[in-house]
């Protein structure tokens, strides 16, 4: 053991105490902000606000709680999850693997389960690199993550569209591919094209899809609360975060929104809006820039949902949020799924179990590659650093 835990424990203790007391200080201000929220004034503020944060846009208002609708007598849930073996830069073989876990669970008169995992190896030039003639981007790391997301949604859509309704599709994580915002145009097109095709196929088949985010770290609604307490509008100025923040340094200014605690939407809906198990928040529209590339009907909206174990974020396409029956079906199905697996959708849990590539399996593939190369007289020389980690000595 090389980490001296004792050396950092004292500082961690101090940090924990400080964080707790600071959060506590902002609590009453947050409760007051929610209590005094004037939605007409807020809409006015949001129209002209210039902020550096994502602001949740209300569709049916910022406040309000919807109880869990009655459980459907029967429904089918389709969930997919993927796991990857990244390209190994120490190996002369260039490839990656996507292992997709697929789960179909049908409830009602004839309960059924279909569970399978499918591994696919990608090794062709077009699988390994993206190119726009002038640049070549290797498909690994973050970029491979986009491919995995595409494959997960494509597989789920293909399957779900062939099943008898009512069917819901669940995905683990966000449906907003915001990570593409920092990518070159040809990478965006490569990833977004098939992703949007799968979303459109689901819309055409009228199969509602949801991205389920457990323990979400987003603050879109909390950011709106910050706008609501901003002291610029009473002084006749629009909310302008850049301007306000610049004055911190030049004038020692203290932003009005600093009275609010630095908490996420999850905490806001759990402790201030006080969602109870089964309840959901109103549906909001995300202001993420990448959504401008989505067709209007498929732009992602979201709501927060108390699963019984936590407040999770659920992302849905706009067309689902406009259809009350679809929204209710999804809401009820997710709650039912969560009740079957201690607060996390059962279908997603099982899809993950089917997809996950364990350390010993990764090692098994490495050994297989070594052996196959050895059969052709190629003895794999790993990097010195890699060798030093594998054969540890004193």
């Amino acid at each position: 053991m090389t980490l001296d835990v004792a050396a950092i424990a004292e500082e961690l203790r101090r940090l924990a105490a400080e964080t707790a007391s600071w959060e506590h200080a902002g609590w009453s201000a947050l409760h007051a902000a929610v209590r005094d929220l004037d939605e007409t004034d807020l809409r006015q503020r949001l129209r002209t606000a210039k902020t550096s944060w994502l602001l949740a846009r209300a569709i049916q208002g910022y406040r309000g709680v919807s109880p869990c609708p009655p459980q459907p007598e029967r429904y089918t849930v389709v969930a997919t999850d993927g796991s990857v073996l990244n390209p190994d830069r120490h190996s002369p073989l260039r490839y990656y693997v996507i292992n997709l876990g697929t789960v179909v669970l049908a409830y009602g008169d004839a309960p059924q389960a279909r569970m399978e995992s499918r591994a696919r190896l990608y090794a062709g030039e077009e699988d390994l690199y993206l190119s726009d003639l002038s640049r070549r981007v290797p498909i690994s790391g973050t970029v491979l993550g986009f491919k995995r997301a595409v494959e997960e949604l494509r597989q789920a859509a293909e399957l779900a569209c062939s099943l008898d309704p009512p069917v819901v599709v669940l995905q683990d994580g966000t449906l907003i591919l915001w990570g593409l915002e920092s990518q070159p145009e040809f990478v965006v097109n490569w990833a977004l094209g098939p992703f949007l095709e799968a979303l459109a196929a689901l819309r055409d088949a009228r199969v509602p899809v949801a991205g389920f985010i457990s323990y979400p770290g987003s603050s879109d609604v909390m950011n709106v609360m910050r706008v609501s307490v901003c002291d610029y509008p009473p002084r006749g100025m629009p909310v302008n975060c850049d301007h306000c923040r610049a004055r911190i340094r030049t004038e020692g200014h203290r932003p009005a929104c600093d009275i609010l605690p630095d908490v996420t939407d999850r905490v806001l809906f759990e402790q201030v809006f006080k969602l109870t198990p089964g309840e959901r928040s109103p549906v909001y529209a995300s202001a993420s820039t990448i959504l401008e590339r989505y067709p209007e009907a498929d732009r992602i909206n979201f709501f927060y949902l108390h699963t019984g174990a936590e407040v999770a974020r659920v992302e849905i396409p706009t067309w689902v949020s406009r259809d009350r029956a679809m929204l209710d079906l999804l809401h009820a199905a997710i709650i039912d799924q969560c009740s079957r697996a201690r607060g996390y959708p059962l279908a997603l849990q099982e899809a993950h179990e089917l997809a996950v590539i364990r350390a010993e399996e990764r090692r098994e593939v490495e050994i297989l590659v070594d052996r196959m190369l050895a059969e052709h007289g190629v003895v794999l020389r790993r990097s010195a650093k890699e060798r030093s980690k594998r054969g540890r000595y004193v």
Partner: protein, 204 residues
């Protein structure tokens, strides 16, 4: 044989050794009874006969614990109805101890020369064949030396009772079995008496 091969299959060998094997059942909970006879048809025409020594049902993934699914209103078979994924994440496995093998139509009450291959089918032994294999309880010493999950005496008692039923309450066979046990345990009265009592249908 009147029974179809499909109806005989119990599952598949997932662990194997000279002394026996572990098999995973094709269907959840469809375990063969303790002490019953199972067989594996080997690649060279050998048939290995084994006695079921243990059964269990649990999570397929050893890292995942089984948790309660029911309540006062949802119990037993209804739990499986309501949770269709259970048959994919749970499995039933059983162990069996090899007692004999058949090669070139000759039955030997010895451990097989080779263990049954992994992934080969494990089958129930049809009644007629089971009667033939067990007709002479000469394999009892192998079971008496069994070291595994359950005591050897429990295994012997379960096997003898199962065979007695299978053989249509064959008193002659039971007598042969009792005599063989008396021979094996002639120096261990404390083990013999409870075993004979367990076998006696009039005491059951």
């Amino acid at each position: 044989m009147s029974e179809q091969p499909e109806s005989l299959r119990l599952g598949e060998v997932i662990e194997t050794s000279t002394v026996g094997f572990v098999a995973e059942c094709d269907e959840l909970h469809c375990l063969p009874p303790l002490g019953s006879l199972a067989r594996v048809n080997g690649p060279e025409g050998d048939v290995i006969y084994a006695v079921v020594t243990y059964g269990e049902t649990g999570s397929i993934d050893p890292g995942r614990r089984v948790v309660r699914r029911g309540s006062a209103d949802l119990r037993d078979q209804a739990i499986y109805q309501q949770n269709p994924e259970l048959r994919h994440v749970l499995r039933s496995v059983f162990s069996a101890a090899a007692i004999a093998y058949r090669r070139d139509d000759r039955l030997s009450y010895l451990l097989p020369p080779l263990p049954p291959p992994l992934h080969y089918s494990v089958e129930r032994v049809p009644t007629t064949e089971a009667r033939e294999v067990t007709d002479q309880p000469r394999y009892f010493p192998i079971l008496a030396q069994y070291r595994g999950e359950i005591p050897a005496d429990q295994l012997l008692a379960a096997h003898a009772r199962h065979l007695y039923e299978l053989r249509g309450h064959d008193r002659d066979w039971l007598e042969r079995a009792a005599r063989e046990l008396a021979r094996i345990f002639k120096h261990d009265y404390d083990r013999l008496v409870p075993l004979l009592e367990a076998l006696d249908p009039d005491l059951a």
